[in-house]
Symmetry: C2
Subunit: 443 residues, 2 copies
């Protein structure tokens, strides 16, 4: 699909899929997901799967995001005006790819945003997402100075650069503001808050909503997947599943249909902070109201009381969300609510979300999902320590933890570890038991 | 209940509860759980709640474990022959109490086990659990040398010392061994593996089962709560919910009835490693087969591929288990499968499980469970950083993470952090929006 002849006003995977044309991207997805290419093509055609791959992102390895694919995870990187350094953002990109992020969002809001993004796109084999309103705001004095043209021009600028998917907060509308004023935490989405202030100042509706058709034209030209943002996502348990959140979700469902009519690929973004018992309901509602467009959730965090550990509070919610039908999980790092994540926070966030995504894939019985668990367990039971490390999500850490007490090479085949010691190792005893037990069976 | 006149052959909370006598322990539990004392008394009488409080554990603050109480968490401490030091085990006890463990199990298997345990009991205000077979095995040459009398004597010895609850693997039986031999990981419970080997060697049934009546007499005298161990808990996803596991669970249900007939308090231990989609089924089955005796689960881990992060894999499963009806969660540390946890591992394990227990309590709408979330969120939205830290599960860590980028005292009231910087802080913008939005409402 990279031919110049295709560089016309419609270049989306959905456009081809609707005609039954299986693109190289669909074939690549089919292979990595153990699915039939025709099945992938149909999923993309009906909007249940997206393949975010901007025609200008040259070295991308396409992935499919949707309920019938492996659960994906996204890592957020990018600087802020308080903390900014191109090299450290590139390091975060490389760490994201190394530890298994499926996509990366560059959320830079400070420094040379254009340069950082270009470097990230050039270096990345995985899809890159952005939130164009951030850079638009950097270019003006204050929120009120934003205009429809500034926003649309920025979307086009980033689309040309090769951004694969963009968060567009087109569903937050003026009439929802009175409900928001009653919330404990108001609007915690940055994009949502910016647009809310803009709307109230100008007393006009959201320009991303009123000019949605212009956005679609750009998206269909470069095949930018629209990630319809939840500007009204709850920022604490108390605000979860409220009227504001669901009013916006309803609008996102309508925008989805508009996008599909123009062959534009769409994901829907979701909360946030949600009590564990409300997660399945949230996912089911999104699936119904947004016509099965892939659900891309942030966490959700299942409690507010653990700053410093929000990779865990959110991995719990993310597992439940993916099990209930979410297609992609946006990671949360331990530094959430406290500061800009550093390289180690990025790694911790990714591992926590690899766990969540994989646990959900196993629970949903996705093809071959459990094979790695079984291989690792077999190695564990056979005291093949090196193989156990190798199959781990984080081999270096597993090895380092083991080696804290038993560093010598000889213990890599030892039939125990320091947890129980040799006499109390259940696996060791159990091997005798299994031999004796199978004899028992023949009696 | 601490009077000497009560030191007869039956001193259990259940004994008094069945007569409608509200003990000081029940009153203390009622107060801390926001329940009526008569309700607690009834829960204990029917076995749906236990109050583990050995009559010889003098300085204990009683807690209630059961589906109608706050979800409890247990921290495992104790040395192994490879790694042993009394002081560091006491430090783990203090850390467990500081970070909010509700009970502690001393699983020591090396060094001066008696002395370590006595020091732990004397120092602990929370219930202490043990697995008596570990010390029994330390006293003999090999597993085959264990006898019924050695096991019973050890249980009595530890009961006299003041142990509040004991894991007794009385449900693993000889006839289950052939099924076990087909497992990927056999018997991964240490107690279970020891008994399995003993049974196969002697070709006799489990002495903890055949002499269960003798154990009950000891338990009823000192009010030791029996924690009926799942010797056949699965050690990997592949072995979860198999015939061996459920055959044992059935026996544990029968033993529960025997214990209740003698007024002995009972919990049931549960897995282990379980795919996320099987957790609710496991809990429901336990509730039914064990007549609502409190379920005390280890994790469960929802994937096997993350050694070094098993506090996370298990916190995910634990949340689901508690949400489904488990009463107590045994923590798993990052060091699980790799080595003996150190002080930091203990802390990480406890925080992860505080998150799981609390998230489940919120999801189950337990009285006042969400108040702390709302208070913290309010402090967060008001940029009251110090109050936010104070309400956190780990205030030091939250503060340290925030201070990495903005250490100066002035930033403790700053209306932003380094994540987004001042211009992009959603909370700051949102406060304007809420003011403007409420005006909108009055139009």
């Amino acid at each position: 699909m990279r031919d110049d002849k295709l560089r016309n006003d419609v270049n989306t995977q959905m456009y081809y899929a609707k005609q039954g044309i299986i693109t190289p991207e669909m074939e690549a997805v089919a292979e990595s997901e153990y699915l039939e290419p025709s099945f992938v093509c149909n999923e993309v055609a009906i909007g249940r799967m997206v393949i975010p791959a901007n025609i200008n992102h040259k070295n991308i390895s396409p992935i499919g995001i949707g309920i019938n694919a492996r659960t994906k995870i996204n890592s957020n990187i990018g600087n802020s005006s308080v903390s900014s350094n191109i090299e450290s953002e590139l390091e975060k990109l490389y760490a994201s790819i190394k530890y298994g992020a499926d996509t990366v969002m560059d959320l830079s809001t400070g420094g040379d945003i254009d340069l950082i993004r270009q470097k990230i796109i050039d270096a990345s084999t995985i899809p890159i997402g952005t939130v164009p309103i951030y850079q638009a705001l950097e270019g003006v004095e204050s929120i009120e100075d934003l205009t429809e043209d500034i926003l649309i021009d920025m979307i086009e600028h980033q689309a040309k650069q090769g951004v694969d998917y963009m968060t567009i907060h087109a569903g937050i509308l003026l009439h929802m503001m009175p409900i928001v004023s009653k919330r404990l935490m108001g609007v915690v989405s940055r994009g949502g808050a910016i647009l809310a202030q803009w709307m109230l100042h100008h007393h006009k509706d959201n320009p991303l909503y009123t000019a949605f058709d212009r956005i679609l034209d750009i998206a269909r030209k470069y095949d930018v997947t629209l990630s319809l943002g939840d500007g009204l996502r709850p920022g604490c348990l108390a605000d979860a599943s409220d009227a504001a959140q669901f009013a916006e979700l309803k609008v996102l469902g309508e925008l989805t249909k508009m996008a599909w009519a123009k062959d534009v690929q769409v994901m829907i973004e979701g909360p946030g902070h949600v009590p564990f018992d409300q997660i399945e309901m949230n996912v089911k509602k999104q699936i119904e109201w947004c016509h099965e467009a892939p659900f891309y959730v942030l966490g959700p965090l299942v409690t507010d009381i653990a700053p410093g550990y929000d990779h865990i509070t959110s991995a719990i919610g993310a597992t439940m969300a993916a099990y209930s039908g979410a297609a992609m999980l946006c990671y949360v790092t331990p530094k959430e609510h406290l500061g800009l994540p550093d390289l180690n926070d990025v790694k911790e966030g990714i591992i926590a979300f690899k766990i969540a995504a994989h646990a959900a894939d196993v629970a949903r019985h996705r093809p071959k999902a459990r094979e790695r668990d079984d291989s690792l367990s077999r190695a564990r039971y056979e005291f093949d320590w090196n193989k156990q490390f190798e199959l781990s999500l984080d081999p270096e850490k597993a090895k380092a933890m083991h080696d804290e007490t038993l560093p010598q090479e000889v213990f890599k085949e030892a039939e125990f570890c320091s947890m129980c010691g040799p006499k109390f190792c259940a696996y060791k005893i159990s091997k005798n038991v299994q031999e004796m037990g199978s004899t028992e069976d023949n009696k």
